[in-house]
Subunit: 278 residues, 2 copies
């Protein structure tokens, strides 16, 4: 690809824009900097698809010739495209051997709804960035649309969480620093939690109705205060060989058991209608 218009190049590590991006990439943004950095083809394309053009597109020199840069480049206004010297681009990159392409964007801050009516994911102090990203990815894959993250969760828009979310961030409304106990008053759907005490077997619980799924800290689980508010208490019948499941694995099992029950129910409704029509 050849750029037919003049493009801004950055070749100095002291460039103030470059320095600010580096801070974003290293997960230590400037105090008032609310922007984030997205790295790689997948995340940038997902942003473009869901949210539109970025504030700035940053491309490493040697990535300019790649075919898939074209649509990203075209989507950005002229003054918002920046080419970075290769050595600066590889310092900025948090991925090994990846072609260097970045979006600088402002993450959405959705307004809190007055009533929570649909299926959503609530996370209480989930600290590990890989777990948090996987939880968001699994929630989006299961068809949930909202995520509420308490204080003490990893930062949802940090590079590590973005990387393991694989684009799920753009399919969900993500509410950070959510006061989950206070939000429980806004629930129009059941609050479901996994626990061992006074819990029903997951597979015997009727999960066809949407609910809020609550999962907690890797070591301590959900706080007692929140657990006391759960309408549904379920347990996953695991082998005694290990003490517990990883939080993201437990969520995958619960969310997709609900999806299974909903799909089976939808199939039954359809075939009942078909029979009636005949």
């Amino acid at each position: 690809m050849t750029a037919s218009v003049p493009v801004r190049h950055i070749a100095s590590r002291d460039n103030p824009d470059y320095r600010a991006w580096l801070r974003l990439a290293q997960g230590r943004p400037g105090r008032r900097d609310t922007r984030i950095i997205l790295e790689g083809e997948h995340l940038c394309r997902a942003w473009l698809e869901h949210k539109g053009p970025p504030l700035v597109l940053v491309v490493g020199e040697s990535a300019l010739s790649l075919d898939w840069i074209g649509p990203l480049w075209q989507a950005c206004a002229q003054g918002r495209r920046i080419v970075l010297q290769n050595n600066l681009a590889s310092v900025l990159s948090q991925v090994e051997h990846g072609p260097a392409v970045f979006f600088i964007v402002e993450p959405p801050v959705p307004a809190l709804p007055s009533h929570i009516t649909g299926g959503s994911l609530w996370l209480d102090r989930v600290q590990d960035p890989g777990n948090l990203g996987t939880l968001l990815r699994t929630a989006a894959a299961a068809g949930l649309r909202q995520a509420y993250l308490s204080d003490g969760c990893a930062s949802a828009w940090s590079p590590k969480v973005l990387r393991s979310g694989q684009g799920a961030h753009f399919a969900l409304d993500i509410h950070e620093h959510a006061d989950l106990a206070a939000l429980a008053h806004r629930l129009d759907v059941p609050l479901a939690a996994t626990t061992l005490e006074k819990a029903e077997l997951l597979y015997l619980k009727d999960l066809r109705q949407p609910c809020v799924w609550l999962f907690g800290n890797e070591g301590q689980g959900v706080s007692d205060e929140l657990l006391a508010r759960a309408d549904w208490r379920v347990h996953i019948p695991q082998s005694a060989a290990v003490e517990s499941l990883n939080v993201a694995a437990a969520a995958a099992i619960c969310l997709f058991e609900q999806r299974r029950q909903q799909l089976v129910a939808a199939v039954k409704v359809r075939s009942a209608r078909r029979e009636k029509a005949q």
Copy 2:
């Protein structure tokens, strides 16, 4: 706790034993060193329970007074207990703020069976240590007993994988550097893989029979060669909001859907017997 027998202390960072343990903890063992290091109460207790005493127990000075050190200490022969100066212990520790207790052990190397008859997990080049540990933990929780890891997988006994495995390593026979294509000839159970092409819906597939579950590399999935050998090809009906699931989340969904079907079948068998007896 006070030690009533003389105990070996290490106070120098140049101590050759200490230097070797440090290499284990940093995931770069000496070339002929086949030992591994386990850190923390949970992993050490799990080893003791499943495998017996370690080669060496290493305790940081300030951890000596903890109650739960007692049983670990008692389980080790006198010459195998070593107390480490606190500053050395905290350098050895890969965990923040944890009390420093370590087992030095030789990981088991199980013999390859001539026939693979039970449920097991096959992993083709799963690179991320967190994913690998979570996969092992989920497999053990689902009741599988064997894991076969191809070349290109993360090292199963590395500190990061051990940490995310949370003791699952001791409930499974783990075969590393397994030639999965060659092992396919030893299978007496179906080989199951997730894929989008020519695949049945996971929830419509009869999974009551044990099988081998095959999962692949985070970016590339299972190799074509292995996928061609799959007897069961299933897909997980995810929302179109994201392109794919994390490999450990996908495995959790598949393994626990199988567990659900097996549990439901067992309940049905039991109630049929009960009816017959009446």
